[in-house]
């Protein structure tokens, strides 16, 4: 009895191994795209479009989507990838540190980026609370939603947008941090991702959702009863893309990334609500540029920001959450 069982299990393992090898062999012929989940449908469309170009003929795709941080860690953990696309540069830096993406990934015309967006304030249809800008978010009658900046890398754009807007107005560092604290006192739900935050807002919670413009456009186009306010001062969101250092299909992978920055692909991104990185398409798409648009570099750059604001123990946001918690 046990010998039969043993024999069966050995056979099973052998069969599985053979099947695994067959699957791996098939994967030899294809590019694997590992991306964050927000532009999932857009990438699906772009992959189809790429197949119609001379460079993209005969290229099959494997696609994997998940939250930006999870995807980045998965690649460090061994998930095979030829092209990686994340929602913020630190997720790319993690791969550079692990030797999986070349140090010079951000060189070149678009500084390693494939799309842009901006942080906006999403409100209910008709803007019943008359939200105009950041200062309205600290009013006592306003309930704010944002994903948690410690569990959502993307929420860090929101925090830096609020902080940077204050600094651009001329506030000191201390004043801007005090503003963040007042703002987070009004935050009633801190979902773990931007998409969940949007669902919570759509479900009827809160007066204002801090979100990316492309998400707001997507939700509005889907018929959600909401609109968004472009604050006078806000941050430019930059989404990076790169070919991995160990890609076995480097030429094809680079061709795909070049395609992503070409006019036809940039138009697809623009239609999905992203701000194109390609100037000519950006001009066609005619997104409104806020007067006080700043970048992450203006508030210190990601390396400094990650440590100064988002260190779990010593970061400014950890302090802010702690102070709010203690006074609860």
């Amino acid at each position: 009895m046990t010998r039969v069982a043993l024999l069966l299990s050995v056979l099973l393992v052998a069969a599985l191994a053979a099947a695994g090898r067959a699957a791996l062999h098939a994967a030899d012929e294809e590019l694997t795209l590992v991306a964050y989940s927000t532009p999932r449908e857009t990438y699906g469309e772009l992959v189809r479009l790429f197949a119609g170009t001379p460079a993209g003929r005969d290229v099959a795709f494997g696609e994997s989507y998940g939250s930006s941080g999870e995807q980045s860690r998965a690649v460090v953990g061994g998930l095979p990838a030829d092209v990686v696309a994340f929602s913020l540069a630190p997720d790319m830096t993690r791969l550079v540190d692990a030797g999986l993406v070349a140090e010079d990934w951000a060189d070149g015309r678009h500084a390693g980026m494939v799309t842009h967006s901006v942080v906006v304030l999403v409100v209910r249809a008709g803007n019943p609370k008359r939200i105009r800008g950041w200062d309205d978010l600290v009013r006592p009658d306003v309930e704010v939603l944002t994903p948690n900046p410690f569990s959502s890398g993307g929420a860090r754009w929101n925090v830096m947008a609020a902080y940077g807007a204050k600094r651009e107005e001329g506030a000191s560092h201390e004043e801007a941090v005090a503003f963040l604290e007042a703002l987070f006192r009004n935050v009633s739900v801190q979902d773990k991702s931007a998409r969940e935050s949007l669902q919570t807002f759509a479900g009827g919670k809160g007066d204002v959702l801090i979100a990316y413009e492309n998400e707001a456009i997507l939700a509005r186009d889907k018929g959600e009863p909401l609109e968004y306010v472009l604050p006078e001062r806000t941050i430019l969101i930059e989404n990076p893309v790169a070919v991995t250092a160990e890609s076995e299909h480097r030429a094809k992978a680079e061709a795909f990334v070049r395609f992503l920055r070409s006019a036809p692909a940039q138009r697809v991104f623009a239609d999905a609500g992203y701000r194109p990185v390609l100037r000519s398409v950006a001009r066609e798409a005619a997104f409104e540029t806020p007067a006080g648009l700043f970048t992450i570099e203006d508030v210190g750059g990601w390396d400094e920001v990650q440590e100064r604001f988002f260190d779990r123990e010593t970061g400014i946001m950890a302090d802010v959450q702690r102070r709010i918690g203690e006074s609860r």
Binding site: G69, D191, K192, K205
Partner: protein
């Protein structure tokens, strides 16, 4: 689960010698599937040394999340021990139309992906509640979500014991003049207690670690509605894997301690039963 109850009713287990191959396979499998991963978590948690471990588990936000988690898990145990037993009782002792359907429905919380459970509860008991109950983003919502996912444990451990329970004993007690309450208190309850404890222990352990059902409905506000598993998720997202492992190890330790405590209670109850 019924084997747990069956074992409780047969204190003197029949042990057979031999079968070293089956023992080897069982232990090897257990090591691969359970012990090795647990050891890896513990190992990882010590990477920053004792001071690092302490710093991770004593961070104010971690303490707040752990307190909430443990408190709610005990709440879950209290409610489920009572309601789970009541449901098992109704399923075994009462007959009504659709009983087999209800019986099948009990296990559904296990089959539903927990994230879907969270979403469903949010739709039902959130800001747009069709029944007019809005609990979302409160501690009560955390309790509700955990009650949902842990309901089957107590029901499914108590049910088989109730089925096997000898009704002659109850009838004898009744014929000797015991009221219904007294029969339950002195005959039925002592027989059910080991199974109730087993089910409660499983429910507790599950409630301590649950993530999917809670993450959408709790609101995740630090120091307020953030549970330990969501806090750990935040640590992972902040690239503090060692801290995440440390808090996880503490959760495991709490679960383990409670499981052992309940196990001891169960043995005590079993002894007093026979």
């Amino acid at each position: 689960m019924s084997s747990v109850a069956a074992e409780a009713r047969r204190p003197v287990a029949v042990r057979r010698r031999g079968g070293s191959l089956s023992l080897g396979i069982s232990m090897g499998y257990l090591s691969l599937i359970v012990l090795l991963p647990l050891a890896a978590v513990v190992w990882r948690s010590t990477e920053a040394g004792a001071a690092g471990f302490w710093a991770a588990v004593s961070a104010p936000q971690a303490v707040a999340a752990l307190q909430l988690t443990v408190a709610v898990a005990f709440g879950v145990v209290a409610v489920n021990a009572v309601m789970g037993t009541a449901i098992a009782w109704v399923l075994v002792r009462d007959s009504f139309r659709g009983k087999s359907l209800v019986n099948a429905v009990i296990d559904l919380p296990f089959a539903l992906p927990t994230i879907v459970a969270g979403l469903t509860l949010l739709a039902l008991y959130g800001p747009r509640s069709p029944v007019g109950i809005d609990l979302a983003y409160t501690k009560l919502a955390v309790l509700l979500a955990l009650l949902f996912v842990t309901l089957p444990f107590v029901v499914r451990t108590v049910q088989p014991v109730l089925l096997e329970l000898d009704r002659d004993m109850e009838e004898a007690a009744a014929s000797l003049g015991a009221g219904r309450a007294e029969v339950f208190r002195r005959i039925v309850f002592p027989n059910l207690l080991p199974a109730i404890l087993s089910g409660s222990a499983l429910a507790f352990a599950r409630a301590i670690g649950e993530f999917g059902a809670v993450v959408l409905i709790s609101g995740n506000v630090p120091f307020d509605t953030e549970v330990a598993s969501v806090y750990i998720f935040g640590l992972i997202e902040s690239d503090d894997l060692t801290g995440a492992a440390a808090v996880s190890v503490l959760l495991l330790a709490v679960s383990f301690a409670v499981l052992i405590l309940i196990g001891a209670l169960r043995r005590w109850a079993t002894r007093h039963d026979s």
